[in-house]
């Protein structure tokens, strides 16, 4: 039920993000979703890609520090209140969101929310109990 996310350490300097995208493009890896967190000195790029093994290897060969994390992809209706309904059920169950990002596949249909939880299994259980569809990794990589 979990999704593999790769994360990359980036110094805040011009061209570093382009170096990542060039590496992925040359490796023939497609990006499904991404988020970039930054501080004054460095950033962390989080990616969900079509082939995380291949992506990770190509990035490491090019000298990047790459990490792997399990995240959860949940599907909600793309309408007002969609995200809020999920966040309130998590909050009622005392589940903390470390970070999240989202993307819409096609406007008006469904949105995909990527979550990083402190207690991942418990979070999945809670979401499923409330009828939220969790997108399995394989499905997400190949959307």
């Amino acid at each position: 039920m979990k999704v593999e996310q790769i994360s990359i350490f980036l110094e805040n300097r011009a061209g570093r993000l382009a170096d990542v995208t060039r590496t992925l493009s040359e490796a023939g890896v497609n990006i499904r979703a991404l988020s970039l967190a930054d501080t004054t000195d460095f950033g962390i790029l989080r990616l969900i890609v079509t082939d995380h093994e291949k992506a990770k290897q190509a990035l490491k060969e090019n000298g990047f520090t790459v990490g792997r994390t399990n995240v959860v992809a949940a599907e909600v209706q793309d309408k007002p209140g969609g995200l809020h309904s999920i966040l309130s059920m998590l909050s009622e169950n005392g589940i903390n969101v470390e970070y999240m990002y989202a993307f819409v596949q096609q406007s008006g249909k469904n949105a995909v929310l990527i979550f990083r939880f402190d207690r991942t299994d418990e979070a999945i259980e809670t979401l499923q109990k409330h009828g939220i569809r969790i997108i399995p990794g394989n499905e997400l990589y190949n959307i």
Binding site: F9, L10, E11, A37, F42, I44, T65
Partner: protein, 433 residues
């Protein structure tokens, strides 16, 4: 004016025979009271009685900072611990610090040498001395403090930190003399201006600056900005503390070393050979009068040269040039001695850190900035910002705790730290001193 006319202006031949007399006594004293020296003398086949002239000094063993660490804490004391009235500690490390003990007579001598030093800078009993050297285990604060008291000046034991309050006190109390590191003097100046205090509001006329390297250009800058005479002071805790040497206001050209208490030599740091007067090399000092912890031929690692030309101030004690460098990799950051190996061991003790780091030292405005760059490898990396930031804070607080300096920690990508011939270049000093 001269504080101690008899000793400070003693003719050279008398001064040199006094040195020889004291050296002979010292050699016997350390041989019989300090096992470390007895062993060294025996290994080299030297008897204290074999010293017949000052030139025999070159046959005696050197003492290194590491010898002080190896005999931590009180192993080099030449008197029973009960006779020691004070202990100072230099440059904290992760394990072994350098400890220095003083008898009552050592403390009195030190105060009198500091009083000489003050007077050499034109300070007298009517002055008010703002002492911003740190008080505590560091020798700077207390060293200057007791010297000013012996001179009869009014001392303000301000110590370091709380800069804004310091400039307020300077405005209200009207000190005429400022003691601190040269970079802190400029920081005080900037803080004063930022708080609406101009130099006309102050009464400073003399600044006694030391504990870190500075240049002639920096002296001019300080003199122009703070409107005072800036003088260089030399000292190191292993030998005594501040007041081993001082510039005189008459010449403002090199530092008189108090040769009736300290026997100096210049050596080639590579070979250990003595160099003739005027040659540049490493300063080596033998403490002629210390009771608690006398040192034979202590290698200061400071690079300078001896100037034997008589000084216009009338003092007969030779001068050394402003310290121009070190023969080891010690860094002086805001007056604190830092060895790169100390930072390395702190980093290596911090879980998850790769051995690749780089130290960048810069001077922003007047303050030294130490930046520690650490490579982020997979073990350290996390997809959460807070984990990396916590690691930065952890390293910062370890460095602060063990070394007493604030460092900026920067996480960098692997392999960004330049490696030359497979070895990383560890230190980049961008300060122009």
């Amino acid at each position: 004016m001269v504080f101690d006319v008899q000793n400070e202006t003693m003719p050279r031949d008398e001064l040199e025979s006094l040195q020889l007399k004291r050296l002979k006594y010292l050699a016997g004293k350390v041989y019989h009271n300090v096992p470390f020296y007895k062993q060294k003398f025996d290994e080299m086949g030297i008897k204290p009685e074999s010293i017949k002239s000052i030139s025999d000094l070159k046959n005696l063993p050197f003492t290194e900072k590491q010898d002080l660490r190896n005999n931590y804490p009180f192993g080099l004391f030449a008197v029973p611990r009960e006779s020691v009235v004070r202990v100072h500690v230099s440059s904290g490390t992760t394990g072994k610090a350098t400890v220095v003990g003083y008898t009552q007579r050592d403390v009195d001598n030190w105060a009198r040498l500091m009083a000489r030093s003050f007077e050499s800078c034109g300070v007298n009993s009517t002055d008010i001395v703002h002492n911003a050297y740190g008080y505590g285990l560091f020798t700077g604060g207390l060293g200057a403090h007791y010297g000013a008291e012996v001179l009869g000046a009014t001392i303000l034991p301000v110590s370091g930190g709380a800069t804004k309050r310091q400039v307020m006190l300077m405005k209200d109390f009207g000190p005429t003399v400022l003691c601190c590191t040269p970079s802190y003097a400029l920081h005080l100046y900037e803080t004063a201006l930022a708080n609406g205090i101009s130099m006309e509001d102050l009464k400073l006329r003399v600044g006694i600056f030391g504990a870190e390297p500075w240049t002639e250009e920096m002296r001019q800058d300080i003199q122009n900005k703070l409107r005072l005479k800036a003088l260089d002071i030399y000292g190191l805790s292993e030998i005594m503390g501040p007041g081993v040497g001082i510039e005189c206001i008459a010449a403002q050209d090199g530092l008189h070393i108090w040769e009736d208490h300290f026997l100096m030599e210049i050596i080639d740091p590579e070979t250990g050979e003595s160099l003739p007067p005027g040659e540049k090399g490493e300063l080596v000092i033998t403490t002629l009068t210390k009771e608690a912890q006398p040192l034979i031929r202590y290698r200061t690692r400071d690079i300078t040269r001896i100037n034997p030309i008589p000084c216009r101030c009338g003092r007969t004690h030779y001068r050394i040039e402003r310290i121009t460098g070190r023969s080891d990799d010690m860094l002086i950051i805001r007056g604190v001695n830092v060895f790169p190996s100390q930072i390395e061991s702190i980093l290596l003790e911090t879980e998850g850190l790769s051995p690749h780091y780089q130290l960048i030292i810069d001077r922003k405005g007047s303050m030294d900035i130490l930046e520690v760059q650490v490579e982020v490898d997979e073990k350290l990396f996390s997809d959460e910002i807070k984990h990396l930031q916590n690691m930065e804070k952890k390293i910062m607080s370890h460095i602060k705790e063990f070394l007493g300096v604030t460092a900026k920690i920067t996480m960098v990508e692997p392999k960004t730290i330049a490696r030359s011939e497979g070895k990383a270049k560890r230190i980049i000093d961008r300060r122009n001193v």
